[in-house]
């Protein structure tokens, strides 16, 4: 079996501890920035998917299917290596001035997650009775205004638990950003491993952090389901 001397001190204090904490910080930063952008993009795509104008609807459908059925890693590589071919030059130059790896990871994670969020929002909208849209339209709201004031505020409330789940997935998926050199948690764990050969300790620490985040977020969803959603549905 394992013939290995564990040395936990190496990751609980000092330089390597700082590396891991920096990794946690980057992971959180990457996830939070991406989830906000992904939510906005997902909202737009969801509304486009329900539009009455068929080209818009088809575009949204194609976008959803293509992003959901391609691996995130490939999308990360596409934006990281290929962005200078597909994005306008001034955007690329702007991205390079702050942090290109981080930006590419944000773009890929945002696009990938937005597709899943759009589907969640769409099923949330579906759970709102059809008559509400008809009533709103007949009292003079346009499609977009009816969405904005009547349907979406209710749908988003129902969609919050799956949205938080997507945030959880996003946090886990952000580990893929290490492949393009974003110094997030998994990257730092790998880094500690290659400097110290203490792979088990480093990966245990990273695993515990990911698990901790997952458990906390899962607990929040539970509370929300019991406290908030029960009152929304109870009315």
């Amino acid at each position: 079996m394992l013939n290995y001397d564990f040395d936990w001190a190496i990751i609980t204090s000092g330089r390597y501890f700082e590396w891991l904490m920096a990794g946690v910080y980057t992971t959180v930063q990457l996830s939070v920035v991406s989830i906000v952008l992904a939510f906005l993009l997902g909202l737009i795509i969801a509304v486009m998917r329900m539009s009455h104008v068929s080209p818009i609807r088809w575009f949204a459908y194609a976008y959803l299917e293509f992003t959901r059925n391609t691996p995130l890693l490939v999308q990360i590589f596409f934006w990281y290596f290929g962005s200078y071919q597909v994005l306008p030059r001034f955007i690329n130059e702007w991205l390079v001035t702050w942090n290109f790896e981080f930006a590419a990871a944000v773009i890929a994670l945002t696009i990938y997650t937005s597709a899943f969020i759009a589907e969640d929002i769409r099923s949330g909208v579906r759970s709102i009775p059809r008559e509400q849209m008809e009533a709103a339209r007949s009292s003079g709201f346009t499609f977009l205004r009816a969405m904005q004031y009547i349907i979406l505020p209710q749908a988003v409330r129902i969609t919050i638990p799956p949205l938080i789940n997507q945030f959880l997935n996003l946090t886990k998926n952000s580990s893929l950003a290490m492949t393009i050199g974003v110094a997030e948690l998994t990257y730092q764990a790998r880094q500690v491993e290659s400097y110290t050969f203490k792979g088990y300790e480093a990966f245990t620490a990273a695993t515990i952090v990911y698990l901790g985040m997952s458990l906390v977020i899962a607990a929040l969803v539970n509370i929300y389901n019991r406290k908030v959603l029960a009152t929304v549905k109870g009315r």
Binding site: T70, V74, Q75, F77, F81, G82, V86, S175, M178
Partner: protein
Amino acid sequence: MDLSFDFSVISKNITYFMIGSYPHGRLGGVALTLYLAVASCILSFLGGLFLGMLSVSKFRVIRYSATAVINAVRGIPLLMVIFWMYFLLPALMGRTMPESRTVIAALTIFTSAYMAEIVRAGIEGIPRGQTEAAISTGLHPWQAMFYIVLPQGLRNMVPSFVNQFVSLIKDTSLAFIVGVSELTHVATQINNRTMIYPAEIFFFIAVIYFIICYAFTSLSRWLEKRLAWQKAI
């Protein structure tokens, strides 16, 4: 923006994309991606069935520990599981392992946890009265599970299993990290060699993944519709 795409890099390397350097060397590319996905799918189906049945066991200790394992695996990124296998398997086995086997082990463990949740939901979707009726006609609880509950439950699970297989195909791209020459790895190799066609190369493999995954996504939707139709009559 430099929108002058040159897709000749694809046609020049098409066999390498599809089968790697086989038959002169190792199998790679799309073929290896499919091999990894199918092998891990079969193994994780069995693992998921086993874990899923444990998680509905009537013994509290078994049920709780199975649920704990499932939730722990679902709580960490696949990349973590791959690294764990990469470091742990050789130490446990006492010898080096081929990377493709490391990846299959990691994908199996990871996907089993998700499959187990599908199995649990499928079993719980069968009314409890059926098990009780089966037991009262003299079947052993295990027989009730294997002859009454699972055959019906599994049929309901098929669409979810197909969806999970789609995730698995996408997840095989992570094998790139430990140097298994599946499609994504092959693409990065070609990209490193040619240097100036990254958008073409990664768009092309995205399309390949899309064609494979979309076929299975559509299959799953069709199955779901047929299942709903069968239930209606």
